[in-house]
Subunit: 121 residues, 4 copies
């Protein structure tokens, strides 16, 4: 038993990706401008699996798509983590701050059952 | 000192987002097909901040853009986490599996200094 | 009655957009790298109108969305035309060439009623 | 010499794509919700060719990328045309209306040499 805190998954991932890029001399390509494009391309590769499916089919992916979709979800997280690192943003802290803003913009009683924009609630 | 393991950030985030949606009765809208569209829209809102900047400007964001960019990075993580949850995918495990695949496709000695596709290395 | 051929819509649009950019000294920003980002952002602005709609609702857009959707479709064409111009591509000729390729990849008898990729037909 | 007006490129393209889909019984898949996803995926396939290039490289595409980029530009126009047809939007008329709006939002003397949003001019 140890009292060393377990490192958080996104912190570890950030460091793993730094090493991965450094070993390949890829930092020269990993500008935020390029990384945001790569992130967008990965999201589209994920979306491609869903584009012709009905809403019901997309909710129960056929077995032969499941591994590919899992890989694409991962790719999105990898580029998102890398981009956040390059921009000096702590992604988890930013997410909790954003959830607070969203909770203020979409109070449960007003937003219930509706996807209208907060400006129209 | 406690021997309770600290919960991981993405596990907590997953649960927080489940509660957030449940309180607003939003599960009816959160089909994977809709969520992947929302994820794509958030990435574009992030990209919008970079589109007219030079590579150098994008690497040193002007102060007045920094909070907005941090918020958009967060939004991407929020939808990615929510979508992975709906698809039953453990995003961190998927990411480590994907990094292993990438390491096999892009061995450091072959990929060094090049962004060619692994099929062209 | 005139025997002057009517200029084609996309040719005229190309020239109008050249003038529009020149009058504003925007060519310095209109690199293909920037324009492809802007094109992607416009598609997302279009997609945003559809993301929470059911397939049926999206096929019969509510009146209050129709003008906004029409504007976003236009924005996509404007950036696509501008990007093609900057890359020296004749978009209409390219489209007819691509339709021929698609017809060869997706022969009507094999592709009927299926959205499988041509590699899986 | 004929006084039959030459049909416009986008009108012809619209009809060709209707026939293409009908011959393959694809209308069942071509809902606006699906088509906007397909459009987004095509833009990302186009963007993928630019993501790791410098601004200078992207402006002078290497020969081996030129045909692929031309094909992707075409695919974007094909899905944009198909989506506009399904939504009953005349894309060329919409584009001219949008240019007028843009001209009002970005008067040449105020917008010259700047990519600031019209709300910040």
């Amino acid at each position: 038993m140890s009292d060393t805190p377990r490192p958080d998954s996104l912190d570890v991932l950030t460091q793993v990706l730094r090493d991965f890029a450094a070993e390949r001399d890829w930092d020269q390509f990993h500008s935020p401008k390029n990384l945001v494009m790569a992130l967008s391309v990965e999201v589209a590769e994920l979306m491609e699996h869903f584009q012709w499916l009905s809403v019901e089919e997309a909710a129960e992916l056929p077995l032969e798509k499941q591994e590919a979709v899992r890989d694409e979800l991962a790719d999105v997280l990898l580029y998102l983590t890398r981009l956040s690192d390059k921009l000096g943003v702590d992604l988890v802290a930013a997410s909790y701050d954003k959830i607070k803003k969203n909770a203020a913009k979409y109070p449960a009683d007003k937003a219930r059952g509706s996807m209208r924009k907060y400006t129209e609630l």
